[in-house]
């Protein structure tokens, strides 16, 4: 436990008047108050120190004891005992409400036995945080874990398969710390899902376009199509028109938080017209057109 120089903390001279101390305290408090320094632990710590310094130096009795014993604070126990027996509730004014007994240093507790303030202590909830998680479509369609760092702490979260672009989830109690024993704030995570080169998502359904050649479209045949679970072979019926859409039931995106449920995959056929025809091909097409 180290000696705390309260004069140094409040940046005042040892001969400072009560009025000077009050002014110095107000000035520093305006700079370091937790409401004005969100998520700044260093400012919060300094604010606690100036509160403690003010608690001592603005009270003539405590200041006298502090000045008398100072660095020899270990010998102050008897004094503290006597002081405690004379203690009575009082309202000294000027001290902030959002400062609790736990916030005093060991030095202070040892010397003064705790705060004598009897002021109302208002609990307040900590600040809510917002953040984004960027996912690829494939990641969004698979249940997986990710670690976020918020306020220097790692938070491991499980992202359920089927999370939507723009969806927000709330992690209760993972925001800023509360004051005076109040609850911590919440962490809001927004998911941002990148586009996929093959699949376009529409809710739980996926859409894709597959190119088939003219001959397969006219005469029928087979085509291999990529799905989330690997390739599947599709039968193309003869005389398939350009833009024909077929549905593959249950081959879409997993439904959020509904295990075993999936949307559908819609495949749109894009018929590719042959180019760079040979003379023979041109002749055959001409012949065909005259039939």
């Amino acid at each position: 436990m180290d000696f705390v120089d309260y004069y140094k903390v409040l940046e005042v001279d040892k001969k400072a008047s009560t009025e000077d101390i009050k002014k110095a305290y107000r000035k520093l408090a305006r700079k370091l108050h937790p409401d004005l320094n969100p998520n700044d632990k260093e400012a919060h710590k300094k604010f606690q120190q100036i509160n403690e310094a003010n608690e001592v130096l603005s009270d003539p009795e405590k200041r006298k004891k502090y000045d008398q014993y100072g660095k020899d604070w270990q010998h102050g126990d008897q004094y503290a005992q006597a002081a405690r027996s004379q203690q009575r509730p009082r309202n000294d004014g000027g001290q902030f409400n959002n400062f609790s007994e736990d916030d005093f240093s060991d030095f202070f507790s040892s010397m003064f036995g705790g705060s004598s303030r009897s002021k109302r202590q208002t609990k307040f909830k900590g600040q809510d945080y917002n953040t984004e998680i960027h996912l690829s479509l494939m990641d969004a369609l698979t249940t997986h874990q990710q670690t976020l760092t918020v306020d220097g702490k790692n938070i491991r979260i499980t992202i359920p398969a089927g999370v939507e672009n723009g969806q927000i989830i709330k992690l209760k109690g993972h925001g800023g710390a509360g004051g005076n024993g109040g609850p911590a704030g919440d962490l809001y995570i927004t998911f941002v899902i990148a586009n996929h080169p093959i699949f376009k998502r529409s809710g739980n359904d996926l859409n894709m376009t597959v190119e088939i050649d003219l001959y397969t479209a006219v005469l029928g045949g087979e085509v291999m199509v990529e799905t989330l679970n690997g390739k599947v072979k599709l039968k193309v019926v003869p005389e398939t028109q350009n833009g024909t859409k077929i549905r593959l039931k249950g081959k879409g995106a997993p439904v959020y938080k509904k295990e075993g449920e999936f949307g559908d995959l819609y495949v749109t056929y894009h018929i590719k017209i042959p180019t760079n025809l040979t003379e023979k091909q041109k002749a055959l097409f001409t012949e065909l057109s005259k039939l």
């Binding site: 107000r26 408090a29 305006r30 108050h33 409401d35 004005l36 969100p38 998520n39 902030f96 409400n97 959002n98 109302r120 208002t122 307040f124 909830k125 600040q127 945080y129 917002n130 953040t131 984004e132 998680i133 960027h134 670690t147 976020l148 760092t149 918020v150």
Partner: protein, 99 residues
């Protein structure tokens, strides 16, 4: 589906927090606080409680006047937004760090 909001009686708030009702009206007039009036009773929405408590601390604990509170509220919003942005960017960078 509309979300249900709990309303808090401003009079009760003022008694509990030892705050003048005129302060609440001033905050409302300056656009820092939304109030709801039901049968001549003034309420705030529960989501605004945290913000109101903070503004009250700035005024009563730190002696900051309304103009100062307006400026601070604007700057704090900006600070919070920048902090959120920084957290998001740090998390994005972690992906590359681990590679």
């Amino acid at each position: 589906m509309s979300a249900q909001t709990e309303l808090i009686d401003v009079n009760q708030f003022c008694i509990y927090h030892n705050v003048e009702i005129s302060f609440i009206h001033s905050l409302h007039q300056s656009g820092l606080l939304d109030i709801v009036v039901v049968k001549e009773t003034v309420f705030i929405q529960s989501e605004q409680l945290e913000q109101l408590e903070k503004l009250a601390r700035l005024h009563y604990d730190l002696d900051i006047n309304l103009e100062g509170i307006e400026t601070i509220a604007y700057l704090l919003e900006k600070v919070t937004r920048l902090q959120d942005e920084m957290t998001t960017i740090k998390n994005k960078l972690r992906v590359y760090d681990s590679e």
